[in-house]
Symmetry: C2
Subunit: 210 residues, 2 copies
Amino acid sequence: MTEDPAASTAPARAAYHHGDLRAQLIAAVRELVETHGPDGFSVAEAARRAGVSSAAPYKHFKDRPAILRGVVSEAMDRLRAAMEAGAASYPAGSIEAVAAVGRAYVSFARAEPGVFRLVFGLTEGHETAPDLQSKGERCFGVVVRAAAACLGLPPENSDVQARAYMLWSFVHGHSFLTIDKKSNVASDRIDDWFYLLTVSGAILGLPIRR
Amino acid sequence: MTEDPAASTAPARAAYHHGDLRAQLIAAVRELVETHGPDGFSVAEAARRAGVSSAAPYKHFKDRPAILRGVVSEAMDRLRAAMEAGAASYPAGSIEAVAAVGRAYVSFARAEPGVFRLVFGLTEGHETAPDLQSKGERCFGVVVRAAAACLGLPPENSDVQARAYMLWSFVHGHSFLTIDKKSNVASDRIDDWFYLLTVSGAILGLPIRR
DNA sequence: TGCCAAAGTGAGTGATTCTAACATATGTAA
DNA sequence: TTACATATGTTAGAATCACTCACTTTGGCA
């Protein structure tokens, strides 16, 4: 019982008492949410996978929603990092950079549909979570900056903000429809990259590349 | 105990044994989902509100997810009816009719954010629910027909399908971002009707009215 | 070394989902 | 009208879960 190397997908059980249980719990919950759906997760099962008693999680999280919020917070960090990496992989100010932000968004939703749904389906305790709110705004900020650079306008410009919001709406909706498998008729036939380029160009008012 | 007129918001208790429990349960669950969030609902509470024992619901629904699916099914009927009514309130083939479909969509999300989230957040038993799948496709069909009429092309045309999908993505994303209160900075300032007209026009390739 | 706080355990409470066995009302056919 | 089959309800109970409390163990620190 000193070691348990086959503990789900968590890298390893560090120690009997001291291990970084908090991170391991978040990883376990993320996995559960991904496989069993956002509401098919239980604190008891997560604790079981982490190899601790069912009361241990409450030393690190106040509540069941608090655990969910931890997962969401971590996921939003990764999402924003992916968006920024997408923007950085193309010349600053190019429309390709804008589309790459959207592409990163859709890719994240495809790779982790359960977590993605959780991020934008969290309602309980949402009002009392200023850090999640601010992280959401930072994600939006990535879109705003890319659009601003592309348009040659300051990010505070209202037109930039509006166009960034439209871009985000489209990409957000496309992500949801994709993972929901609704209307796969059109979704499957679509090359996302071309679509994102097309729509980004149209929304930003730039000529569309063919 | 023959009458119980103050039973939540359900119109009235029809009879002791015979009442239309199924419809009343769906109404109670819809209400619970709306007030306490999609996962803050319990079969026991719904039964309590309908004035029956906690085992009664299982005579009408196989499962907890089955009840949710019943609510979703009913909601999708209403959503489609609202979209069709929106389209019908403007001349057939007009861009205003297309935008009205989107407006109905956003209005529904605003009016019933909990149910809306449930409709597109349902994952459990989703694969074994062909009626929900077909209802989703019928909703998409409303968009397709409006776009086809506007473009003067048959609904089966692939360009029509793709543009309809883009329209739906945008409207869907806008709905979600609106009810999630993310990035209210831009969302609040927006006149939806003008936006929908603008985007609809851009996506359909028609001149944008100013 | 001795003490304190952090971190984990085990048992227990109340609520939940769902099943099983039983009771009652409704509709149909003799 | 009576008798049966079925739909619809009930109570009781098993299994699970969220969460709390009292207790124990461990690591850090003066």
